[in-house]
């Protein structure tokens, strides 16, 4: 079965014993200003199963990043329901959503979004700061373990400005991994990198998915990268077209 085929039948590609981690049902997102109404997402239905590596593709402005924000519980849909581990999160409070993000979701951004004032290891520790009851020692151990996974254990005391783009993105991936999330949402993780570094990052994400079973949803413009993932979902003008 080729990725192209999967691309046409997204949900049909799920494994037999698929366990949905994230499900979007009839999702709509409308941005309203005084004069204009923009439909960013229209009736999106999508399921991401545990252990999957899914790519989301589409032209600029088609709603990919909005979709990722909704999946990451960073934004609220105008209509529809988001389910995490089978539970609808529609009525969750700010604090509950924050707790859910902390436990279940890790983010990797195109422009890394590392905090320049913090060292590499402090950046990686960041999600664990908001984990109730976790002590400093455990946080440090987990952060170092995550840095080890991305091959950056020699750079723990460096600051982001002292690293290359590829290294920064590795730190960002370590940060996403540190909290042991079920799902990593990556928004054009190679967008700011040259092709060689981009390949390295994609290989790293594939390895994490393959060997550690991390569920990954990645927004990308690069078809070659998307082809390496298990499933590709296409978007156009706010609607899922494949």
């Amino acid at each position: 079965m080729s990725p192209e085929t999967d691309l046409r039948q997204p949900d049909a590609a799920a494994p037999d014993r698929a366990v949905p981690v994230l499900r979007l049902r009839d999702i709509e997102k409308v941005y309203q200003t005084k004069t204009i109404e923009t439909v960013a997402l229209n009736q999106v239905n999508l399921t991401v199963n545990r252990g999957e590596f899914v790519s989301i593709m589409g032209p600029s402005g088609c709603g990919k990043s909005t979709l990722l924000s909704l999946m990451g519980l960073l934004d609220e849909p105008t209509g529809g329901v988001i389910e995490v581990d089978g539970r609808a999160v529609t009525s969750y409070s700010d604090k509950e959503l924050a707790g859910l993000r902390n436990l279940k979701i890790g983010f990797v951004f195109q422009s890394y979004h590392l905090i320049n004032d913090l060292s590499v290891v402090d950046n990686v520790e960041l999600p664990l700061l908001y984990r109730p009851g976790m002590g400093g020692k455990e946080r440090r151990q987990r952060a170092l373990a995550a840095l080890d996974k991305v091959g950056l254990n020699a750079r723990t005391g460096h600051f982001p400005a002292q690293l290359s783009g590829g290294q920064r993105q590795r730190v960002a991936i370590a940060r996403a991994l540190a909290g042991g999330p079920e799902i990593i949402l990556a928004d054009e993780p190679t967008g700011n990198l040259d092709s060689v570094m981009g390949e390295e990052i994609i290989d790293l994400l594939l390895e994490l998915n393959r060997e550690q079973g991390v569920t990954i949803v990645m927004v990308t413009h690069d078809l070659q990268q998307a082809m390496k993932t298990q499933r590709v979902i296409r978007f156009f003008d706010g609607s899922q077209v494949g």
């Binding site: 934004d75 700010d94 924050a98 707790g99 902390n102 983010f107 979004h113 004032d117 999600p127 700061l129």
Partner: protein, 419 residues
């Protein structure tokens, strides 16, 4: 988590040094002025020797006569008749002491004139006040009753007149009268108006010591309550006593007013002037006004800080977005920002304390008030810290709230869109 917040706070301060300098300057300069004022206030009215028990003391510094037919007011100190026949008969005070405002006197040494400030007191006054005696003792009641020519002098007078402080039993000549030195006390600041003088002699030697039926005289009264809690009862009994005093010369005088107040309300009553019956609620209003002015004074650097902080939020929107994405709830961000602001305020506060200490050293060097040594006491330091924390909170709460309301998606894009 706190360590991480502190790390970030320090980095943020160091990142924009000029902004940080302006913020710190505003906080530290304002605090310096407030602390200097507080140190002076504490020096004048705080529980410092010899007024260590100031929390139990009440003072009577005026008897006001409201004249009939709109002829205005007449304010005087108290007479011995008033003290002996009314105040000393009160039941609630533990002791009633009298003194006078210090008056000019002159001692003659072999080589020069020595100008002195002289006060007349009774024996109880020395039991109410806690002067530090370098040698000798206070007057006895007998010495006062017999109008013996004894005196107590301060250390400066002893050194200027005799060249040394251990002069108990020696004779000093003041205004051509000879007095035996009964005791030598440490210098008392002229800012402590009720306790200050260079030399004290029995009030029975005062030219104003004569008995007739007038209420007005030359004496300041110091009443010692049995405890701080009993102060209002003493004040109340004094009011009741005043109501019972027959109005002298009823054709000329319409009413008489006098109050036994703790030291600060007494000063306040003095500042507020000739209100016919200044009641406690008006004094409270005065405190609220003074407190309000102090807050207003603090508000300037606070507004400056708020402004700088709000600007800084936009610079840090990416960080806020990331923190939210990784699980920071709004309340976590408010906490973080408040910690950062408290660190800034604390640094400013410590600088302010240092500046205040420097300013007070300069003031002390200039000797504007005789024997005054203004210093930052622990209580002033404590108040300084309270003010600092107040600064930190006042200038941090609004920006922190604004920061926590940033939409994470917009924040990650670098915008400042609110939820």
């Amino acid at each position: 988590m706190l360590l991480s917040y502190l790390k970030i706070a320090w980095k943020v301060l160091m990142r924009r040094k000029f902004f940080t300098f302006i913020s710190l300057f505003g906080v530290s300069f304002t605090l310096m002025i407030l602390l200097v004022v507080m140190a002076m206030f504490d020096h004048a009215v705080g529980p410092n020797a010899p007024m260590k028990r100031v929390d139990r003391m009440l003072f009577v510094n005026t008897i006001r006569h409201q004249m009939a037919d709109g002829h205005g007011w007449m304010s005087n100190l108290a007479s011995i008749h008033f003290v002996d026949d009314y105040v000393r008969k009160m039941k609630t005070p533990e002791k009633v002491g009298i003194t006078t405002a210090s008056a000019n006197a002159t001692a003659f040494t072999q080589s020069k004139l020595l100008p002195l400030d002289m006060a007349y007191t009774d024996g109880s006054f020395w039991q109410i006040m806690d002067y530090d005696f370098l040698g000798g003792r206070a007057f006895t009641a007998d010495e006062v009753a017999q109008a013996q020519h004894v005196c107590i002098i301060n250390e400066a007078t002893a050194r200027a007149y005799f060249g040394r402080p251990d002069v108990v039993g020696q004779t000093i000549e003041i205004d051509l009268k000879r007095y035996r030195v009964a005791g030598v006390v440490r210098n008392v600041s002229a800012a402590q108006v009720y306790a200050y003088a260079d030399v004290w002699v029995p009030y029975t030697l005062s030219p104003q010591y004569f008995k007739d039926d007038r209420l007005e005289g030359d004496f300041l009264l110091v009443l010692l309550a049995p405890s701080a809690a009993a102060v209002p009862a003493v004040s109340e009994e004094y009011q009741q006593m005043m109501k019972r005093i027959p109005i002298p010369r009823p054709k000329e005088v319409k009413a008489i007013y006098s109050y036994a107040d703790p030291i600060v309300p007494g000063v306040t009553r003095g500042i507020l002037g000739n209100e016919p019956s200044l009641q406690n609620d008006q004094i409270t209003k005065f405190y609220v006004l003074v407190g309000g002015l102090a807050l207003l004074f603090m508000l300037l650097p606070v507004l400056n800080l708020v402004n700088l902080n709000v600007t800084r939020i936009l610079e840090r929107s990416g960080e806020i977005g990331v923190r939210k994405a990784f699980g920071a709830a709004s309340i976590d961000l408010v906490g973080q920002f408040l910690v950062e602001n408290l660190v800034l305020a604390l640094v400013g506060g410590l600088l302010g304390l240092g500046l205040a200490a420097g300013a007070l050293a300069l003031v002390n060097e200039a000797h504007p008030v005789a024997y005054a040594h203004f210093a930052l006491s622990w209580s002033v330091f404590g108040w300084g810290m309270v003010l600092t924390l107040l600064f930190g909170l006042m200038s941090g709460v609004y920006p922190a709230w604004k920061m926590s309301r940033l939409n994470p998606v917009a924040a990650l894009r670098g915008g400042g869109e609110q939820k």
